[in-house]
């Protein structure tokens, strides 16, 4: 029997060093006794066996990172057998190098459960430590009494230092104490509850908050207990309210229901008189304001807002796209997303003065289906194009552009009032019924969807060529 003494209850480095030496020599787990914290030598020392054939450096093996992390946590556990259990797992790792991937292995499962218990204890300490303010020789100090389940104080103290760097504090536990004076974190011996302060003037206020934030109409006592176990209650100033709040909850709820509806407050709070919405100064602004509450088709409901056209009212050219996309829907202005940027670039290359153009869409709400955290664009249906067409007609009537550029099939359909295949009609000026001229080309988002760069470059060049036809109307 080999007896290994460790420096403290949480001496991970010591365990690691010794365990490495033992496992190299092939010492079986059942032949080792681990004693943390230099406790009495119960089983006698025993000699570390000499390295045998094939042992030592040659037999060294690396353990997976997952094991080291698990061991660092498990050494904090209160179980007296934790070092032996870890050594046993280490020993088995020689034979089964991928053991750590097997959460279904009984030994791995047990140690993972222990690590989980330690992590939970660390978390609950962060939650349930309650500081009480005292003055020590004129200096403000915050002191807490806490009883952790495992040996976690040292591992957890740096958290409190990071959180409360600007205040002096001490955390007293039965096993040890931690102190922060604004300069250094130090550890001392264990303490008793009697050494901690018994009250803080703020606690009455905190209890008042606790009582008020509680909703008596929805008692869920088991949910509370599973997260805030009863064992913590005696150190929580608010816990003394739990029993009376529960006892009274039923009465308060019944009272609320019996009371039922009441007469309205005779003197309700009145808002300051609102400044009236400015009346739109021109017909285009009026149309925009009117379109904001359009419900001519169902697309308004899932969308954020109507995206009306934008640009000068006397623009010589109007560009019509398909519909707003994700970005336009959020922003409220057309052509601000990726396709809009593509359009801006092409317009500039074609020598057009973009700022003098009016840009709008055939359909003024974004049509999409949600997919997790994204919205997938859907082409508008004919009925939706038709429902939205009066807005486009209003825009045309008010802006009266000399040239209308329809980008994509949807825009062409809306502008001409009938299907106009893009491929057959692009690249030349067409006459509209009212004497205006029109130009059909692709939608810039079509270029974005092309899979390969060569095709994209070619189509982009064609798009720019088409746009050049607008130059006589909108030259820089």
């Amino acid at each position: 029997m080999l007896h290994v003494t460790l420096e403290s209850e949480t001496d991970f480095e010591g365990w690691r060093r010794q365990a490495r030496a033992l496992v190299r020599r092939g010492v079986r787990p059942r032949d080792v006794v681990w004693s943390p914290g230099g406790t009495a030598d119960l089983f006698g020392g025993g000699e570390l066996p000499e390295m045998g054939e094939g042992q030592g450096e040659a037999a060294a093996f690396t353990v997976p990172r997952a094991f080291v992390e698990l061991a660092e946590t498990v050494v904090l556990h209160a179980d007296p057998q934790r070092f032996a259990r870890l050594y046993n797992l280490l020993f088995r790792l020689r034979e089964t190098p991928r053991l750590m991937e097997l959460a279904i292995d009984p030994d791995v499962a047990r140690l993972q459960a222990m690590a989980k218990s330690v992590r939970r204890d660390i978390h609950k300490m962060r939650a349930f430590v309650r500081f009480r303010r005292v003055e020590l020789e004129g200096v403000e100090w915050f002191v807490s009494w806490f009883e952790p389940e495992h040996h976690i104080l040292k591992a957890n103290a740096p958290f409190f230092r990071r959180r409360f760097a600007g205040m002096n504090f001490s955390i007293l536990t039965p096993e040890a104490s931690a102190h922060w004076d604004g300069v250094a974190l130090s550890f001392g011996p264990g303490a008793t509850r009697a050494e901690a302060p018994t009250d803080d003037a703020l606690e009455e206020l905190w209890r008042g908050y606790y009582a008020s934030i509680f909703n008596p109409a929805r008692l869920k006592i088991s949910a509370m207990k599973s997260e805030m176990a009863v064992k913590y209650w005696h150190n929580l100033p608010e816990a003394q309210l739990i029993a009376p709040l529960i006892a009274d909850a039923q009465r308060r709820t019944v009272h609320m229901m019996e009371e039922g509806a009441t007469a309205p407050n005779a003197r309700p709070h009145k808002p300051a008189p609102q400044v009236a919405e400015p009346v739109p100064q021109d017909a285009l602004a009026a149309a925009r304001a009117e379109a904001a509450s359009c419900r001519a088709c169902p697309l308004w409901a899932p969308a954020t807002q109507t995206v009306f056209g934008a640009g000068p009212v006397d623009a010589p050219v109007m560009f019509v796209g398909e519909q707003p996309g994700d970005q336009e829907d959020l922003d409220g202005r057309p052509f601000v997303g990726p396709a809009g940027k593509m359009f801006d670039r092409a317009a500039q290359e074609a020598g057009l003065e973009r700022a003098r153009a009016y840009v709008t869409n055939a359909v003024k709400h974004f049509k999409f289906v949600p997919r997790g955290k994204r919205r997938i664009h859907q082409s508008p249906a004919v009925a939706e194009i038709r429902a939205c067409r009066p807005w486009l007609m209003r825009e045309l009537e008010l802006v009266r552009p000399k040239l209308v550029v329809a980008m994509g099939a949807t825009a062409a359909q809306a502008v001409f009032g009938k299907a106009m295949p893009v491929g057959k009609n692009r690249g030349r000026l067409l006459a509209l019924e009212d004497g205006r001229q029109a130009l059909i080309t692709v939608h810039p988002s079509y270029l974005l969807r092309l899979p390969d760069a060569a095709a994209q470059a070619e189509e982009y060049a064609r798009f720019v060529e088409d746009l050049k036809l607008a130059r006589p109307f909108l030259a820089v």
Binding site: E101, L102, A103, I104, D105, A109, R126, A127, F128, F131, F142, R161, R162, R163, F164, A165, G166, M167, L202, E204, L205, G208, Y209, Y210, S212, I213, F214, N215, A217, R218, K220, I221, S222, A223, M224, M228, I242, A243, A249, T253, M256, M257, E259, G260, A261, A263, N265, P268, H269, P271, Q274, S293, T304, Q305, Q327, D329, L330, G332, P370, G372
Partner: protein, 403 residues
């Protein structure tokens, strides 16, 4: 009015907001600073007997309100006592509670007084004082007010970890009836602007910080007759459109001094619970909003969780061989959570997962077994049994047990 009385009124006024989360923000601590505060982990510092976590000091700046939302205890026509904190009072309470480790930070909201900008300016002043005067580095969640000015919104986002704006009700028709002054279009526009700013701050390193913990919202369930299918579709829309971190569901709860229009009885709390489970399925388990609720029903089953209910409607997909099924399929097995699925996937790369391994996955075996196959286990046509649902549905039990 003394501080204790104000706190009791203004916490009481805030408790119908379900959110208390303090997670997902940028990691900060007070080392090297002038004050206190850190944002490591989301810690619930206490629990009330309603089972809700207490993580933040959740208060209203004032419960005076010009709006008359019928479900709200603070509506203009309610007779509740009114109070108003000064900016300094909220700042001091936050710091005093934080020093004693009662809270992770502050969740501040307010009734609408005078104008949206006036109200928002007061809310922002609290956050500004905490951050600038006291170098407070804990968590701050601000409720924003639709139609507040862009400058105030930008400043709010600079100090706050999370911003939120409540959608309140799942349909526009209900909002019109129950909260006539609220405008769903304005709410959506605000959410859209917030998403744009949050993404800009994330993408451009030089852009000023903006709500690193994102935005969330809350929907009241059971104050109107909208069904779960519509509620989940609304949530899916909001997650997709505004990249919300969370949609909170708050079962309509009877309030003191209630309006005559509202139902006097609360809906069962378990409905709220089922909606959260369904929400989880959408966000982490690859379910689409449309498939979670039985089309014939319109509402989620109350007597079993939505994944089990879905599996019973889709029995032809089971049983699944847990040593062959892909991750997406395993996530759809009733009783298997993400952790268990990850463990199965890791383990089966080393060796087959057998019957005797299952207890160590810490899953409810009775629920899982009819839906899986593994060496040592074949579910003997259990899947075809007509009474499977009643065998698997949990036995009814009282939700609130005596202490």
């Amino acid at each position: 009015m003394d501080l204790a009385r104000k706190l009791s009124i203004l916490a009481d006024a805030a408790k119908y907001d379900a959110s208390c989360a303090s997670s997902g923000t940028s990691r900060r601590d007070s080392v090297g600073g002038r004050g206190i505060g850190s944002t490591e982990g989301a810690i619930c510092h206490s629990y009330a007997p309603d089972g809700r976590c207490i993580s933040l000091l959740k208060v209203l700046l004032t419960n005076a309100c010009a709006f008359d939302c019928l479900y709200c205890v603070n509506r203009a026509s309610s007779n509740v006592p009114r109070a108003r904190f000064t900016v300094q009072e909220v700042v001091d309470l936050t710091l005093d509670f934080y020093r004693r480790n009662y809270i992770e930070g502050l969740f501040l909201s307010s009734g609408i007084i005078r104008s949206p900008d006036y109200t928002m300016e007061q809310v922002v002043a609290v956050a500004r004082t905490l951050r600038q005067t006291h170098d407070f580095r804990g968590y701050i969640h601000l409720k924003t007010i639709p139609d507040a000015s862009p400058e105030l919104m930008a400043e709010a986002g600079l100090y706050a970890d999370r911003l939120s704006i409540n959608i309140e009700l799942p349909s526009e028709a209900s909002l019109k009836t129950l909260a006539p002054e609220k405008d769903v279009r304005a709410i959506r526009r605000s959410m859209g602007r917030m998403r744009a700013r949050i993404e800009e701050a994330k993408e451009e390193k030089r852009a000023p910080a903006f709500a690193p913990a994102g935005q969330s919202t809350q929907m009241i369930v059971g104050a109107d007759d909208v069904n779960d299918r519509t509620i989940l579709a609304t949530s899916a829309n909001l997650y997709g459109a505004y990249r919300l971190k969370r949609v909170y569901y708050s079962a309509f709860s009877p309030i003191p001094d209630a309006s005559r229009i509202l139902p006097p009885q609360a809906p069962p709390l378990v409905r709220e619970h089922r909606l959260y489970q369904a929400d989880w399925l959408m966000r982490f388990y690859g379910f689409e909003a449309g498939e979670i609720v039985d089309e014939a029903q319109g509402n989620l089953a109350l007597n079993m969780d939505p994944k089990l209910a879905w599996a019973l409607r889709n029995r032809e997909r089971f049983p699944l061989d847990i040593n062959r099924a892909d991750r997406g399929e395993l996530l759809r097995v009733p009783g298997l959570g993400k952790t268990a699925v990850d463990r199965i996937l890791a383990a089966r790369r080393v060796r087959a997962v057998r019957l005797e391994d299952l207890p160590r996955l810490n899953v409810p075996l009775g629920k899982v077994m009819p839906f899986i196959i593994c060496p040592g286990h074949q579910p003997h046509r259990l899947i075809d049994r007509a009474d499977l649902a009643s065998r698997l549905a949990p036995k009814p039990r009282q939700l609130a047990l005596a202490l």
